[in-house]
Symmetry: C2
Subunit: 394 residues, 2 copies
């Protein structure tokens, strides 16, 4: 409705959603969350989108003023949707799907009342989640652009360090570089419980502070109201510094982690880092359409066990139960590379793989990259030196 150059891209999304809607037995998908309104329209607006079995969605817009398009209908409240449908001779759906995993109970009740009594309301969240799992060429392009800018910033990290800095000082300089390269700053996360600023930088034992969130790594943060990431630790000789900042330059986010060192790290840390790289290599070899994602996790864990590093794998005092996750408009899309996941990889999926270890007295080591599943295997979207690099100007 707003980005004419996105016409074909949007039509493709609507078509794939319409096919999924049909498979789910629905005759309408009512979209109400920001991220999915963006997915359907190519821009953020306040309102909702009603996707019917055929044609372009109807965009019911509250704000901003001045949007244009054949199917843009301005409304003040959801109830006006009914009048608009009647005016266009469109029958009220009898099997509508709503975003039940995202919409609040109160909002749900308001929307549900619009439909006839007894109309069964289905869950559109898994439908949207599934369709969004498969990235189009346009979306892969956005992820590649994010990845390239992400890399440009990471390459500057060693030179951003000056002796005497804390983890927070260094994080702030990286945040600034991300913004100067076009980072939008925000991070979209599915679900209501996880909150984070631009990402995390973890130095020394702060990496071992358990997180309240389902993130791979923790960190105490600056305040009990946001206990994640840097906590003011002075960067000192023998510490690892793990940088895991979001690459949100385009709405589509790449996920990439690199590790830096202050001086020399102990042998165990170097061994653990090499083990993470081995895990990445092995998973990369196995990762192709048809590969069960649970197997990818299992292989990763086995390599950690063989190296006798299992107690440090994906955390130490608290361990995360996954080694990777889908990415896209949100940082935690499907599939999740975890022992009980049922999904198989398929062409068009994009996921982050993040084998990491937390070593008491040293900090976190390991690597994270974003990968596209192709017809025959995977391609890395985040290309940047993976060795542990010393902080400080070369």
């Amino acid at each position: 409705m707003y980005n004419p150059h996105m016409d074909n891209e949007l039509k493709g999304r609507w078509m794939r959603l319409q096919q999924a809607l049909q498979r789910a037995g629905g005759d309408a998908l009512l979209v109400t969350s920001n991220v999915n309104l963006y997915y359907l329209s190519g821009r953020i607006f306040s309102g909702m989108a009603l996707l019917l079995p055929e044609g372009a969605p109807l965009f019911f817009v509250r704000r901003p003023v001045e949007l244009h398009g054949d199917t843009v209908i301005y409304i003040r409240k959801p109830e006006e949707m009914l009048t608009a449908l009647a005016e266009r001779g469109i029958a009220l759906p009898t099997h509508p799907l709503l975003e039940l995993d995202a919409i609040s109970y109160t909002e749900y009740q308001r929307y549900a009342k619009l439909f006839a009594t007894g109309t069964p309301i289905g869950n559109g969240s898994p439908v949207l989640r599934e369709v969004r799992t498969f990235k189009s060429v346009y979306e892969v392009g956005m992820l590649l652009r994010s990845g390239a800018l992400h890399t440009e910033v990471y390459q500057k990290i060693p030179a951003l360090f000056t002796p005497g800095m804390t983890d927070l000082d260094l994080s702030i300089e990286i945040e600034r570089e991300l913004r100067r390269h076009g980072s939008l700053g925000i991070f979209r996360i599915f679900g209501q419980s996880m909150e984070i600023f631009m990402g995390s930088l973890l130095a020394g034992d702060n990496a071992d502070t358990p997180s309240p969130y389902d993130f791979a790594m923790g960190g105490g943060g600056l305040n009990a109201s946001l206990p994640v990431g840097s906590n003011g630790t002075p960067l000192q000789e023998g510490m690892s510094v793990m940088v895991d900042m979001g690459g949100n330059f385009t709405g589509y986010m790449t996920d990439m982690t690199r590790v830096f060192s202050v001086g020399q790290l102990p042998d165990l840390a170097l061994k653990a880092h090499d083990t993470a790289l081995t895990i990445q290599e092995r998973v990369q070899q196995m990762a192709a359409p048809g590969a069960p994602v649970a197997d990818l996790y299992r292989v990763a864990l086995e390599i950690a066990q063989q190296a006798e590093l299992a107690p440090y794998f994906m955390g130490h005092r608290q361990q995360a139960g996954f080694v990777g996750h889908g990415i896209g408009l949100e940082i935690n899309e499907a599939p999740v590379l975890a022992p009980r996941s049922k999904e198989q990889l398929a062409a068009g999926m994009v996921f982050a793989l993040e084998p990491k270890f937390v070593l008491p007295g040293v900090g976190a080591v390991g690597v994270e990259n974003s990968f596209l599943v192709t017809d025959t295997g995977v391609e890395k979207l985040t290309l940047c030196e993976e060795k542990i690099l010393p902080l400080g100007k070369a």
Copy 2:
């Protein structure tokens, strides 16, 4: 459960919530959102809190590991709450309240199943919202600390400017200073539709770009996935630069806006800015316990009308329908200073007042401050020069 020095503060919150729970006819309040878990416990964790009519809440914790306290109970899934209650000889509530404005429909269903069939589930969101409206001395202290740091950063703004900068360049330098002064970066916003990075900086006509969000001001942003704030406008002679960045240094957020200029602004802009200051002064005089907040809005609008500036008041191409809002842990708390609001001011409320004008060809002018309602009037929490200051080193 975690901050022993907050014991009395937390007990006061529980007591006020228990009184409100009783007024609402409930016998339990099940809290599931981050912001309210923080309010009840003094820290963020993953899980839920169950407040019964008496005593400390039960904290059902999934993550992080290693929390301690008499009423901390580790669980893996919500269903284990039932066993824990039975073990402690606590009967299942018969009139529970859930956060229906925040919890997703899917989550709601899971929690609702825990209670006996037919148990009426009430809405705890308004109860929490109402109690949180009245700040304790501890909370006022947090807001004062945020306000003081917020001011320190704003005082540096003129010196952060160098000729040739864009709005984004300047915004990035202010963001960095905020972080260096301890800003946590994130912004908590009630409801699911509004998203923003650290705040907004609006220069020239970008201030007139309509927003998809219910914010006072707009701005096109960098990308259709986050259309708010700076858009890369070069800062040029005759432009106003409005800085409205969040003051989240403590979890409690102050809201403050100041306007800067590049060179000289036209007379209409100076007049509009003076009118905003007059509105602030008049509202400040009227604002005291018992004052209907709708009256405060009406007076603000009347002054704008008398000055023949109504077409520019709170926006131009798109106008916001309020002139202020409660603040605290979230940026949009009660009360809202809008024509249809029913609330009256009461001692302990904290609100932001933001009379602003958007002038085509110039940009936005006006002021925003955070105020505490005392027994006799209001006290400003954000003390900082309110004149339009020229950008550039003095």
